[in-house]
């Protein structure tokens, strides 16, 4: 509410931003498309689509392999993308950026390659806010190596219990804390800087799952003093099929590769191989070059807008959503209303299952997510088997939020 009052004259030109997204102009039957499932994946601006097409039309070749000019261009495009990602998250050097398939693969690389040195009894700490892709790789390690997982609980608003964290760090030798930088269900962020400092005092490394945070807030891995960070291009206005793993150089350097194949090796003979330097060591096989070009374009596109403006716009959308949804009888927002929410907001509604609600909203052109959003422990924490989630992006408008609230009011009566 307050934020809206101090909207600066430089405020974003949303209609013009919307026009840059070809998909947003379509209609679903008689209804305009209202896309509020941005935490699942964002739509892509034309510049991203054009950059990828342009790459395929002018520069496509297998990078790091051919000895002809086209291959040089492909290599250059791929490595430029890496450098762009490095500056985007303030990495010390481009070699600390590993291109993966997704956040999921990035976290799995840490669990499987860095985790190879873990032994029975070693502890990994997670929070109840985590997405399954930041839970299952660790459960696999628990099965395979007998490590222990320590859980940080949360209160009714989704705020992590810092005393539990303190206790876990004090009592056990926690090797790594793997933590979502922004919840994909609640839209709340833990106090990262404090937590990282606490963990480091206990000799514990920190992996940040920035899948959600990356499109909504600036990220500076050096200022945060994180050790590893993972995100996906497709939640950042970029293409699917490419993700990022950032790690401190000395940590990555000590890790063995994940996939064996081309690109990741130095020398191979019939019974022996040596692996390549970072980051190629973790990029076995032909990489997604056009997707890297798309990610590069997406970062360029997003960073043309000041972060403050992005945060202000998205926050005012969620504030409006909270105000409008709170008027609906029997609706409860997971974690309650909060001024500190960004990205996502999830709720339950008496009398109607989220799947029915999402289906009927979908028929009216409104896209929201229903289910547990790959966060079953968090839903158990709130004793809700499922919820409905709306999640915003830069191109969403207040009108869309009003349309959502009005549609819910329309859908409800026959269910009650």
């Amino acid at each position: 509410m307050f934020q809206m009052l101090c909207y600066s004259p430089l405020a974003l030109d949303i209609p013009s931003i919307r026009r840059q997204f070809p998909i947003l102009s379509q209609r679903i039957g008689a209804y305009p498309l209202v896309y509020l499932d941005n935490a699942a994946t964002t739509q892509k601006p034309k510049t991203v689509l054009d950059a990828m097409t342009h790459f395929y039309e002018t520069s496509n070749a297998n990078p790091h392999r051919g000895l002809y000019p086209l291959a040089d261009r492909a290599t250059q495009a791929y490595e430029d993308a890496r450098s762009r990602v490095a500056t985007f998250i303030h990495a010390t050097r481009p070699e600390e950026i590993v291109f993966t398939k997704s956040t999921t693969e990035s976290i799995n690389i840490i669990a499987k390659c860095w985790g190879r040195t873990l032994r029975a009894g070693d502890v990994i700490a997670l929070s109840v806010l985590e997405h399954h892709s930041n839970i299952v790789p660790w459960l696999q390690l628990k099965e395979e190596r007998g490590i222990d997982i320590a859980w940080i609980d949360a209160d009714g608003t989704g705020r992590l219990n810092m005393e539990t964290l303190e206790k876990i760090l004090g009592e056990k030798h926690v090797k790594l804390l793997s933590l979502s930088a922004l919840s994909n269900v609640l839209g709340t962020a833990p106090p990262l800087q404090d937590i990282i400092a606490m963990a480091h005092r206990a000799q514990c490394l920190v992996l940040l799952d920035a899948a959600q945070a990356v499109a909504h807030h600036p990220i500076d891995v050096r200022e945060l003093d994180a050790d590893f960070l993972a995100f996906s291009s497709h939640k950042l206005y970029g293409p699917t099929g490419i993700g990022v793993l950032w790690g401190r150089e000395r940590l990555l350097d000590a890790m063995p590769p994940m996939l064996g194949g081309g690109m990741m090796i130095d020398e191979v003979d019939c019974d022996h191989f040596t692996f390549a330097e970072i980051p190629q060591r973790f990029e076995g096989g032909t990489p997604p070059v056009a997707d890297a070009v798309g990610l590069h374009a997406a970062i360029d596109w997003l960073t043309q807008f000041p972060w403050q403006e992005i945060e202000m716009h998205e926050r005012s959308l969620l504030t409006t959503a909270q105000n409008e949804l709170s008027k609906i009888e029997g609706l409860s927002i997971l974690g309650g209303t909060s001024q500190e929410r960004s990205g996502s907001l999830s709720f339950t509604l008496d009398g109607i299952h989220p799947h029915d609600l999402a289906e009927l909203l979908g028929q009216r052109g409104i896209c929201v997510r229903a289910g547990h959003h790959c966060a079953q422990p968090l839903h158990r924490h709130f004793a809700a088997p499922a919820s409905t989630r709306l999640s915003v992006a830069l191109y969403n408008t207040e009108e869309e939020i009003f349309a959502l609230a009005a549609a819910i009011q329309e859908i409800l009566p026959p269910f009650r």
């Binding site: 299952h353 989220p354 799947h355 289910g371 547990h372 088997p385």
Partner: protein, 135 residues
Amino acid sequence: MDLYAENILDHFRHPHRKAALTRHSVELQEKNPSCGDSLTLMLRMKKNTIEDVGWEGEGCAISQASMSILADALIGKTIEAAQALSPKDILAMLGVEVGPRRLKCALLSLHALRNALRKFQNLPPTPWREVLPNA
């Protein structure tokens, strides 16, 4: 026809046979973990015939209405007849057009029924892919 036709909403609001059976021959739970739908089906058998049906559950209107409608249809059926029920039969009972998105919701009841009958006969459960028609 509209997925949320009056008969579906009727069964959802006022489900038939939604209560635990005090004496049952077999009880089995199936879930749709992806959406949190769950059904617990109880059957009382008399020799080879389903004498009574009860169920408990929670979830979307489609999954719950489907169980409610199927529960009525099961009374007096033999094991063979109940086991022969196909996804097509269930969809016909629902009487609405169920798209691929909601097929699992609509067929959770059949999945539970098949595995309840198998459990009664001491057979191992079948996986989802046996229920979904070429999905």
